[in-house]
């Protein structure tokens, strides 16, 4: 059977083992679990960060893939802007307007440039035209203005009233305006600019 030495050793070993087990349990509870909880939190945070980066990357790739589409939108704008003056001076606008006036049967014409109206990203450039015109001559003039292929123009105001002294030729005053962008226009970008 067990000798006295055995008993002593086993007693000591069992006490030691009990202490070690208690220590281990404490270590597990206090440090291991805490570390695991910390690592779990790290993993969770990094997972979220990873998802964010992946989403960001997906979005970036999507934007890079839309380069051509955006260029098409920019080109559409540039095409429309071709029918607008390049500067606030708008000398072409005046020339085109004068042509419209002269191509129709208006008389006693006065054309005056009004003060430009700042609208933020663009400025409106109005002209005041006063004249005498027959009803259908005025209609013809308005057609030339509103459906002009060279220049975007619109009728802002119109005042047409009959003069009893000259019933067929009405007195007319109207404001015609075009506009010019004051913000710099975007430029189409090359494919390489957005392709990784």
């Amino acid at each position: 059977m067990l000798s006295k030495a055995d008993k002593k050793i086993l007693q000591a070993v069992l006490v030691g083992a009990a202490v070690i087990i208690i220590g281990l349990v404490y270590y597990t509870m206090a440090f291991v679990n805490a570390e695991i909880t910390g690592k779990d939190a790290d993993i969770k945070a990094n997972d979220a960060l990873l998802k964010k980066h992946q989403d960001e990357l997906t979005e970036l790739k999507a934007w890079a893939g839309r380069s051509n589409e955006i260029n098409a939108i920019i080109n559409e704008l540039l095409q429309k802007v071709q029918r607008l003056p390049r500067s606030v001076e708008a000398s072409d606008f005046f020339r085109i307007l004068r042509d419209c006036v002269h191509r129709t049967n208006l008389s006693e014409i006065k054309v005056a440039k009004l003060k430009s109206i700042n609208m933020g990203a663009y400025e409106e450039i109005p002209y005041m035209i006063t004249c005498r015109a027959r009803y259908h001559d005025l209609g013809q003039f308005l057609t030339l203005v509103e459906q002009n292929a060279q220049q975007i123009m619109r009728v802002k105001t119109l005042d047409l009233f009959s003069d009893l002294k000259r019933p067929s030729r009405h007195r007319v005053s109207l404001q015609v305006a075009t506009f010019v962008f004051t913000e710099p226009l975007p430029k189409p970008r090359g494919r390489e600019a957005a392709t990784p």
Binding site: L24, G120, R154
Partner: protein, 310 residues
């Protein structure tokens, strides 16, 4: 005599009790076995519940961190699309402006004048036509989004400690599109010796304009296209021109407001600028009053007494 012991010396000499006695200092192999088992159990416990779990988590965390680093590097090395985003937003905003000012379905006054002349009944004459306009500045949806993106970017910089706290300067400029509403006022006279007939003529013009049809002249137009769908009556007053009794009247029509292709709910509808048209009179806002007058005119057409023109 010689004595010979044939029994083995050890067997014979050992007493039976002595063979079973264990030394007090001797350690049994069983004790060693128990110690080994205990050590193994403690080691197993540590391995199973501490080392293995922790190391598994460490490996997982390192893996995820590595993936994050790789993804972050990919994002950083990707060409900047900020300019592309900005370009799209600005372009769309500018297109909104162009569309609002030059939309394909805007009211063309040349066509309206043409249609109007076709819809006027006999013995009704126009005295005056005025067109005035009101412009509201409305920020484009892309301009709003562009500013939001910029603000979010600034907040991100502050969080990362790379930016300054407080309201950041240098916010992108707002881009507004014009929401234009134009107003057409038609002043005219209706001539007849009979008062009820004058009122009927005014109503006939009203109905012709509403329907776009002048039945006697066999004319059909889309006069009301682009207008809000209502024609408000103005004052109807008796008068005499050249000794002939006439009824002076006016109608008021408003166009639908212009806007961008895709109308988003205006974020900052800054009705900053109410530009009234130059040459015409001030617009008459009294819709209710105008409707009442319309009722009065319609009533008069049915034979109700109205002030004599003469």
């Amino acid at each position: 005599m010689i004595r010979i012991n044939l029994l083995p010396e050890k067997e014979g000499a050992r007493p039976a009790a002595k063979a079973k006695v264990v030394s007090e200092d001797q350690v049994s192999p069983l004790t060693y076995l128990i110690i080994v088992v205990l050590v193994a159990a403690i080691g197993g416990y540590y391995y199973m519940f501490a080392y293995r779990r922790v190391s598994a988590k460490r490996v997982k965390a390192a893996e995820v961190k590595h993936q994050v680093d790789v993804a972050a590097k990919q994002v950083e090395s990707f060409p900047d699309v900020g300019e592309l985003k900005k370009a799209e937003r600005i372009t769309k905003s500018m297109l909104d402006v162009v569309y609002a000012l030059d939309s394909p379905d805007r009211v063309l006054w040349s066509q309206k004048l043409n249609a109007l002349s076709d819809l006027i009944p006999e013995n009704v004459f126009l005295k005056r036509l005025t067109v005035s306009e009101t412009i509201n500045k409305v920020e484009t949806a892309d301009s709003v989004q562009r500013r939001k993106d910029w603000e979010a970017e600034q907040k991100g910089k502050v969080k990362a400690g790379r930016g300054r706290r407080g309201v950041p300067a240098g916010s992108p400029a707002q881009i507004f599109y014009p929401q234009i509403t134009q107003e057409l006022r038609i002043y005219g006279i209706a001539y007849s010796e009979n008062e009820a007939e004058r009122i009927r003529l005014i109503n006939e013009l009203h109905d012709n304009l509403m329907s776009g049809v002048n039945a006697p002249a066999k004319v059909k137009t889309d006069f009301m296209k682009g207008f809000s769908g209502e024609i408000a009556y103005g004052d109807v007053t008796p008068n005499a021109i050249g000794g002939r009794p006439v009824a002076e009247f006016s109608f008021n029509l408003k166009t639908t407001a212009t806007g961008p292709k895709t109308v988003a709910p205006p974020a900052t509808a800054a009705a900053e600028k109410g530009q009234k048209g130059g040459a015409g009179e001030e617009a008459v806002p009294a819709e209710k009053g105008a409707t009442d007058k319309a009722k009065a005119v319609k009533g008069a057409a049915k034979g109700r007494r109205t002030p004599d023109v003469e």
